[in-house]
Symmetry: C2
Subunit: 431 residues, 2 copies
């Protein structure tokens, strides 16, 4: 065996602790698979005196980032501190110093990916980021290697565990969003400030990364159209179920004639679609390729050890590359520059829930407005009557978003319309 | 770009045709991803005059294997002819000649893997076999790379599309095996001689390969305990459903205290398990690792283009390795020698369906025999009465197989027992 590969950790939060545990507990099998031991040399933390749940050898932790970044013994820098700065500065410094970097930082990759991968290329180092999307689920490497024979046409994923937990509970219990959010917060599945999760911002960063890798073009999180799940009501889930659908928050990226469609929003998905059965806090990513057809990758999207599984897999890859003197073998795959399709130009089916006056001719009026914008109706059900109001649920055929929005603007202004209670896109079925 | 990478195909059946199509139709993106074009130089077939559905350049097909094996221009030999000989001889000759090999041949890898990987190692070449298990689903590379941080403890898969199609139809239609088999044969989902599929032999080869990769030890198809699905009745599926289970044919491999359990048989799996929702001819492989927890890989397990997706991914990996001068980077991973656990020593829960005399005290007698062998009962339901006979359905707690078999031998000999109608293992739930 050659000399051991030495790792420096930046950060010792949930993921950092997991990485340390996996590298020590599975040290023997990892050494066997790499061909040499992989050991943690230094760990950079903010507060060296903080009490921690793991046993660490004396002298391993430090509050000086230079103890890793300027340490000639360290081969691989593992950035698990999160946030933009100083993570960005540290990663750039590591790459410029010829060190390889493994990161779990979705915010950074989704926003500053280009700068980081340029540095990776310039310095012939490896910068791997499997853990930045969907925690323990292998998806970045499968897209870059296992599915490399395919032109990927579509990536759709449940890539936020908190919102999937909330939607699963709402579905199982028939409860409303606020109630289940409180429950999720009590159980630790949602944070005190749930914005990043429930408003889709976390998923937006992940789908930006997936779209970049799948379509070989740079997509940042600012390119992503985003809607969260705060507006999903118990009634929407109930009606969806009656019509054979499940409500999920998806990150969606599609190759549309060379343009890229990239969005995060709630959808109705047919119960027969493999993503419909993904429940609780689990994640899954559905990939369609022009050779393979439909595939799906399922597993835990977060957590100490699952996320560490992805980080350490990247460490093992870098270590194998170091041993074979072949780092930089597969670097940034954004060869192309594709335009992002504006949301108004996408095509989708839609679920509409409208509250209207309960009087003759109302449905005809609405259908006529929709028809004027080329929105044709696949299914319509008149649901509850509430005093002098009626609730109408519609599913449209495939239509361009702008046409639907134009029709809805007209419907909203009509005297018969009390409320456009919800508009949810329908995904995952053929026209 | 450096010189193009040249491929020689052995075989032009379903998979070979798919490989040719993917390499030509996706040539541009593959060249981009590899860094140089990958082209088919020669194709070896039995009958050069056979009419084929694809357009081929003149002179590309030949019936002389030497046109590939002795061709100094060819870098990668793709064996998609199937069967043991002459595929084995050809692959060995290619490896010994310093050529890299990609194969989809499960029979060969599951039986002669050791000999082939020894030759791969000796000649510092690559021998890849992603397509030998579960068609288009990436699973070999994910086990060797993406999940390399884990001690894998369990691999369970729906790895035969024909039997999954049959069991799905039996479940949806309430029909019996023979009826659905005939339907599957008519639709082309089952062959005229369905033995390899319905008796579990095809799945046995695949689980042997998966077990070898997952547990880093050589497992051949002769090590696999096998039962097929001919004995599954419509009533078994109905009762399973009433109890919250789905009937599937699984390949199962477990790491049990250093020994390997490896088997193929029908199981009852809880409806909440992700494998339970895998229907029709789709395949899926569930992997449990000590860091990642539960993951699952889902997709098409067969077919021209899906299988080609896996073969061409392997070709791309070899091509990248050739360009980086790093072939043999990750070769055979069977570092260990582990014993196979005999079927009598495994622990499982069991579903039993018994036809007994419909008289007082029968259940007590049976429970007493089971109890004498430490088989404790979790659930018991008395189902149909048929004249003077009763049908009893039991689910046991976890018990050692041999104890159950001993109890069943006693029950079979009792005067109250008309028939032990079925015994099916229950998988996928905690005790």
């Amino acid at each position: 065996m050659s000399k051991s590969i030495k790792v420096g950790l930046l950060g010792l939060g949930t993921v950092g602790t997991g990485v340390y545990k996996v590298l020590t507990q599975n040290a023997e099998i990892i050494a066997q698979r790499v061909g040499t031991p992989v050991t943690v040399e230094k760990i950079v933390v903010n507060n060296v005196n903080k009490k921690r749940d793991i046993d660490l050898p004396p002298g391993i932790i430090t509050d000086r980032a230079e103890a890793v970044l300027d340490n000639p013994d360290i081969d691989i820098v593992v950035e698990v501190m999160g946030g933009i700065e100083p993570a960005r500065e540290y990663i750039l410094k590591a790459l410029r110093g010829g060190k390889h970097v493994v990161t779990a930082n979705k915010d950074l990759i989704a926003e500053y990916g280009e700068e980081l991968f340029d540095a990776e290329k310039e310095h012939h180092t490896d910068l791997f980021f499997e853990a930045s999307v969907a925690g323990g689920i292998p998806i970045i490497r499968p897209l870059k290697q296992c599915l490399a024979a395919n032109r990927v046409t579509e990536v759709m994923g449940i890539i936020n565990g908190t919102t999937n937990f909330i939607l699963t509970k709402m579905t199982q219990e028939g409860s409303d969003f606020d109630e289940v959010l409180a429950e999720a917060q009590a159980l630790g599945y949602a944070e005190a400030d749930p914005t990043a999760d429930v408003d889709g911002l976390d998923a937006a960063r992940k789908i930006a990364i997936l779209a970049s890798v799948a379509f070989n073009t740079r997509v940042t999180y600012r390119d992503v159209y985003v809607e969260g799940i705060r507006n999903i009501g118990a009634m929407d889930i109930k009606y969806a179920s009656e019509l054979g659908y499940t409500v999920k928050l998806l990150g969606i990226a599609k190759d549309q004639d060379g343009q890229v469609e990239v969005r995060v929003h709630p959808v109705l998905i047919p119960n027969s679609h493999p993503l419909a059965a993904v429940n609780e806090a689990f994640n899954a990513i559905f990939v369609r390729g022009n050779a393979v057809g439909e595939t799906m990758f399922y597993g835990p999207g977060a957590g100490e050890l699952p996320t560490a599984s992805a980080v350490v897999a990247d460490i093992i890859e870098v270590a194998r590359n170091i041993i074979s003197s072949v780092t930089g073998r597969i670097s940034c795959t954004c060869y192309e520059q594709r335009a992002i399709k504006p949301i108004g130009e996408i095509f989708s089916k839609y679920y509409l829930r409208l509250i209207v006056k309960d009087e003759p001719g109302v449905l005809a009026s609405i259908a006529s407005v929709l028809g004027n914008q080329n929105v044709s109706i696949a299914t319509v059900i008149q649901k509850r009557s509430i005093e002098d109001l009626a609730e109408i649920v519609l599913i449209t055929h495939q239509v361009q978003e702008q046409n639907l929005q134009d029709a809805l603007a007209v419907i909203k202004g009509m005297s018969i319309t009390k409320e456009i209670a919800n508009v949810i896109r329908v995904e995952g079925e053929d026209e």
